[in-house]
Amino acid sequence: MSLKKVLGVTTALSMLAVTGALAETLTIATVNNGDMIRMQKYTDDFTKKTGHDVEWVTLEENVLRQRVTTDITTRGGAFDIMTIGMYETPIWGKNGWLVPLNGLSAEYDVDDILPAMSGGLSYDGTLYAAPFYGESSMVMYRADLMKKAGMDMPEAPTWDFIRKAAAAMTDRANEINGICLRGKAGWGEGGAFITAMSNSFGARWFDEDWNAQFDTDEWANTLNFYKGMMEESGPPGYATNGFNENLSLFQQGKCGMWIDATVAASFVTNPNDSTVADKVGFALAPDNGLGKRSNWLWAWALAIPSGTQKEDAAKQFIEWATSKGYIELVAENEGWANVPPGARKSLYDNPNYKDVPFAKMTLDSILSADPNDSTVKPSPYVGIQFAAIPEFAGIATEVSQEFSAAYAGQQTVEEALEKAQAITDEAMEAAGYK
C-alpha cells in the first residue's frame, strides 16, 4: 500500500471516528398531536444534517406532563429535550431547571419569534423554550347556519351577540346546537376555557395580595352567563365535553359555533374528516366591551432540562425543529396549511401562507392575547387561561371540578363559587402566599 493510500485511509478513519464521537442520540419527550407527529416523520432531515439520532417518547398530554415533571424535579435525566407549554416554562426557568436558550445562531433569527410567544416562554427576559407551534382561541362558526338565522358574524363579536346567534341557530329537531363549549373538569380543559372567558367579564383569579376572587360579581356573571347560554343552546351533557367531544360534534355538523383552540381550524376545514369543511367561518373570541377578549394563548415548545450531557446536540435539534427551514420543509412536502402555526412572524408575511383560510384570524387572535396583562383589574400573575404559579394546576383542577358539577346541575353556581373560593384560599395560604 502506498503512503498516499495509507494516509487517505487513516484520514477517512479519523474522520469517521470524530463524527462517531460527536454523534449523539437524543431522547425527546413529546405530545401526541398532528404537528408533533409530523415532526417525527422529518427527523431524518435533522440526522442527515447533523449526524445525531433521535429517539422519540410520545405520550398523551396529561401523561407527558406528569412524566416530565417527575423527571425534571428529580433531575432524572431521562430526556434531553422536553415538550412543555407556556405554563411550565417560566416556573421551571425560574427554578433553574432549564438550559437558557442563549447563543442561537444568526440564521435561526430569534427575533422572528412572535413576541407573545417569546414573552410567554421566557423568565426574566431569558428564553427557556423555543415555540414549535403557538395557538390562541377563536370562534369557528357555520356560515350557512348563521345566514339561515338571518345574522352576520362580526369579525370581533360580543358575548351578547354570541348568545343571541346561538339561540337563533339552535334547531333541536335536527340536532343542531347553537354553541359548543368546553365544560369538562380539568385545568387544561373546561378550566382553561372558563378562565379565559372570565377575563372578558372583568374577573380574575387573584387580587394583588393573592386573595381568591370567586366571591365577586364578575365570577358569578361569568358562570351564570355560561350556564344560561349552554342550557339554551348547548349540546346535552356539555358538562363533560372537552376539545375532542366538541370537535366531533362540530365535524358532524351538530354545532352552530365552537369557541376553542385555533389549531382546531385545520381539523374542521379538512374535508377528509369534517362534513362541514367548506362552510366554516372564523371570528375573534368574544368580549364584553371591557377591553379584554376571551381568547387564550398557548405554545408547545421545546426545552432542554439542565444537567443533560447532550446540551449542544439538543440545541441543534431545537434550532432545526423551530426554524424557518423546517416550516419550508413541511410546506414543500405537505402544503402550507400543514405547517406549524403561530410561532414565527415571517410565516404570516409569507404570501403563500396568506391563502390559508384561518391564517389571518389565528394571527389576530395570538396578537390580541397578552399573558402579562390578561385581566381588566390588576392581577399579580402571568398567564391568560392559567396563573403561572406551581400551585395553579392542582387548585384549578379542583375548582373546575366544582364548576363542572354546577353545569351538570349537581349544585348551584353559587355553591360552586363558594367552594372554589374556599379551595383556593386554603391552598394559597398553605403554600405561603398569604
Partner: protein, 276 residues
C-alpha cells in the same frame, strides 16, 4: 316434565351467560371494529357497527410510526421476567405459610395484601429517586423488579391458597423418606401444585402486561412496553380514535390469544378452593 324444566333452565342459563360474556367483551370488540374504520367513521353518529368501508390504513400508519416489535419485546421481557422472579420468591414463602404457620402468619398475609391498597403515586418519587441512584431508569431490569414486587402479594396469596389444598401428610412422608427441604418443595410440592402455579403464572403475567402506571413513569425510549405504545396514540387535542384502536388491538392481541388458549387453567386457578 322435570326434564323440560331442566332443559329450559339450561337454555336460559346459557343465554344469560352468553349475554353477560358479550357485554363484557363488547368494549374489546368495539375497539377492534373501530381499528378498521377511518377517523371520520370512528366518530360517526349513529355509530357504525359492521357496515362501513373496512380499511387497514390505521394499522399501516401505526406500523410506520412506531417500532411495535421493540415495545412487544419489552412487554414480554418485563411481564415474563417479573412473573418468573415472583414465583421463585413466592413458592418458599407460601410453603412456609401453608405448612409451618406461625402465630403471625395470618397477620403477615393481611399486611402483604394491604400494601396493594397504597396508591402507587404515593411512592412514585421515592422509587424514581432509587431508580436514578441505581441507574435503573428506563431499564427492563428495573421495571421487572418493581412489577415483581407489586404483584408479589397476589402471587403469595394465590400459592398459599393452592398449597393449603395439598395434604401436609404427603410432605411429611417425603421428609420421612429423607427428602431435604429443597427436594420437598421442588420434587414433591411443586409437581402437585402445577395447576395452581400455572394459573398464578398466567394471571400475574396478564397483570404485569397490563400495568400502566409504573411502565409509563419509569421508562423513556429504551424499555417502554406496549402500555407506552398505546399511550403514544392517545390525544386530548385531536380525534385519533381509529389509530388509537389499532394500537390497542395490536397491544392486547398477544395477551388475548394467550388468555384464550389458557382459559381452562385460568378459570380453574381462580375458582380453586372457592367451593368445598
Amino acid at each position: 316434565m322435570a326434564r323440560d324444566v331442566t332443559n329450559n333452565r339450561k337454555i336460559i342459563n346459557t343465554a344469560a351467560a352468553w349475554a353477560i360474556g358479550l357485554l363484557i367483551f363488547f368494549p374489546i370488540l368495539w375497539t377492534i371494529l373501530t381499528s378498521f374504520k377511518t377517523e371520520a367513521q370512528a366518530i360517526n353518529d349513529p355509530p357504525l357497527f359492521l357496515f362501513f368501508d373496512w380499511t387497514l390504513e390505521n394499522y399501516a400508519v401505526v406500523q410506520e410510526r412506531s417500532n411495535y416489535g421493540r415495545f412487544l419485546w419489552n412487554s414480554i421481557m418485563i411481564a415474563g421476567g417479573s412473573t418468573v422472579l415472583g414465583i421463585i420468591i413466592a413458592i418458599p414463602a407460601a410453603w412456609s405459610m401453608a405448612f409451618v404457620p406461625s402465630k403471625r402468619t395470618k397477620d403477615i398475609l393481611l399486611w402483604m395484601l394491604s400494601t396493594k391498597m397504597l396508591p402507587a403515586v404515593g411512592v412514585l418519587y421515592p422509587i424514581y429517586l432509587i431508580f436514578i441512584q441505581f441507574g435503573l431508569l428506563d431499564s427492563v431490569l428495573g421495571l421487572t423488579v418493581v412489577l415483581m414486587l407489586i404483584n408479589l402479594p397476589i402471587i403469595v396469596w394465590m400459592l398459599y391458597t393452592y398449597f393449603r389444598e395439598i395434604p401436609g401428610e404427603i410432605l411429611e412422608a417425603a421428609r420421612m423418606d429423607g427428602a431435604s427441604l429443597s427436594s420437598e418443595i421442588l420434587y414433591v410440592l411443586t409437581p402437585m401444585a402445577i395447576p395452581g402455579i400455572a394459573s398464578t403464572l398466567l394471571l400475574n403475567f396478564i397483570l404485569a402486561w397490563n400495568e400502566a402506571f409504573w411502565t409509563l413513569n419509569l421508562t423513556a425510549a429504551k424499555a417502554a412496553p406496549l402500555t407506552a405504545f398505546i399511550a403514544s396514540y392517545s390525544s386530548p387535542e385531536g380525534l385519533f380514535y381509529a389509530k388509537l384502536s389499532a394500537a390497542s388491538t395490536m397491544a392486547i392481541l398477544p395477551i388475548l390469544i394467550l388468555g384464550w388458549f389458557s382459559q381452562k387453567q385460568l378459570v380453574r386457578g381462580l375458582t380453586f378452593g372457592a367451593v368445598k
